[in-house]
Amino acid sequence: MNLNPNLLRRSFLTSACAAVLAVAGSALATVDDAHSFAMEAAQSYVDQGFIVREDYWNGEVKSGQKLMIRHQLFKGNEYAFWLGTANDGVDLDLKIYDEKGKSIEMDRKVDKNSMFVSVRVNPPKTGTYTLVFSLKSHSEKSVFWALAYGYR
């Protein structure tokens, strides 16, 4: 059987491009999905007058690995943080600490499907706070996440 080398090369390149696009597309979808779930969590807070920030953190992390973010909060505002994931069956944890390492008072709400967790805080002082969070999957080695916040 004679195979045209040009045709073979073209087919190979097409398949390779399709594979790359599929991988890229799937990565985009999952990270964006994590943010979508965070925004779903935010919805009820928006109804209560919270202003959701457009900027947010996101990424992919090994299941169970703890992550830390430092963030500026202003006393007098009430803040809500929404941690979302695109993966099913994930245990979400989010804690917020002040500069001295003391956990600040908060209300916590976990989605019944475990796709997001919401944490509300009233910072006792203006300054730098530390958010520590983890996402532990029962089935996946890594998890896509997004963390957004709002204030009022």
Binding site: G59, E60, L67, H71, Q72, K100, V132, R152
Partner: protein
């Protein structure tokens, strides 16, 4: 915003500084070989799929490395904090928009926001660093105008946003936002305008990062912060109280900007405005760090003076 993995000991995150110093020597040996990969990732844009694949690879590598670390330093972990264990620091900083501070000032009194609006009279320039700084200040001016509920100012600012985005070559992405600002201004829909200014800034910064102009994206943030802080200090000075002054306790943000400047390409780092901003930020940081018992009226005025002077330089292009 992706993970920028700086390896550090955490868990219960304190005493972070202590852990950071104790582990630093050991960690440096472990992380050093990965630094080129980290740097490569940092140069890739936020939404770049390659970066995400890279992030996954680095996570895998770090996972392997962290287990090596744990074996090598398990006694150290026990010694310092039994709860401490390896984790990642996401070192992206989300800079608050000015309205986050403004909303507190509103709760503490009734500032005269109209008095705080500054007339826009931007010079024509093709200098992209200056344009990015100007863009940040103009968006922040938008937040002041929203606070003042000043329709005319919002419309003027909306038009200036369009002009600057054209000069930055970003008008296609910005025009829908600018139009939404102008439409919302017609309806006096202040919350929609506030949201749209935030979106505008994010769109511009995302586009800049996609075009490998992360330094310009940082300039947008810095311009916005300088404009916002000029307003905050002005209001605090007019009606000083410890509660209001405490709003200036923002060392994280100033440190972030100083670090961002140090990572900029030489051309941007040595830009006249950026050099002046760096000097000003160091001055401001020193005042923040020395305000252990709170900010005095004098230190608020000094911080305001520094920010206001830098803002004037940006807006006049001097």
């Amino acid at each position: 915003m992706g993970i920028r993995c700086a390896w550090i000991a955490e868990g219960c995150p304190w005493p972070l500084n202590r852990l950071r110093f104790r582990y630093f020597g050991l960690l440096l040996d472990v992380v050093k070989p990965l630094m080129p990969l980290f740097k490569l990732m940092l140069t890739l844009s936020r939404r770049n799929w390659m970066r995400r694949l890279g992030a996954a690879l680095v996570l895998l590598l770090c996972t392997g490395q962290s287990s090596v670390c744990a074996q090598g330093s398990s006694a150290g972990v026990q010694e310092f904090d039994p709860q401490a264990f390896p984790g990642y620091v996401v070192d992206d900083v989300v800079v608050p928009v000015p309205s986050e501070v403004f909303s507190v000032l509103d709760k503490l009194g009734e500032p005269n926001w109209k008095q705080e609006i500054r007339k826009l009279d931007m010079p024509n320039t093709g200098d992209r660093t200056l344009l990015a700084l100007m863009f940040g200040t103009v968006v922040a001016e938008g937040f002041v105008a929203v606070q003042a509920e000043d329709r005319q100012s919002v419309q003027d600012i909306g038009r200036e946003v369009i002009n600057l985005s054209k000069n930055l070559g970003l008008s296609k992405s910005v025009l829908p936002h600018a139009q939404a600002i102008l439409d919302a201004a017609d309806r006096d829909d202040w919350s929609a305008i506030r949201k749209e200014f935030d979106r505008t800034q994010k769109t511009v910064q995302d586009q800049m990062e996609k075009m490998k102009d992360a330094d310009l994206s940082q300039c947008v943030s810095m311009g916005g912060w300088l404009r916002g802080t000029t307003t905050v200090t002005s209001i605090i000075t007019k009606s000083f109280s410890a509660d209001r002054a405490e709003l200036l306790n923002q060392p994280l943000l100033v440190e972030h900007f100083i670090a961002a400047i140090s990572k900029m390409p030489e051309g941007t780092r040595k830009h006249g405005q950026v050099v002046k901003i760096l000097a000003g930020l160091k001055d401001v940081l020193a005042r923040m760090e020395s305000a252990v018992d709170g900010f005095s009226q004098e230190s608020v005025e000094k911080i305001g003076g520094v920010c206001s002077s830098l803002l004037t330089d940006i807006r006049t292009g001097k």
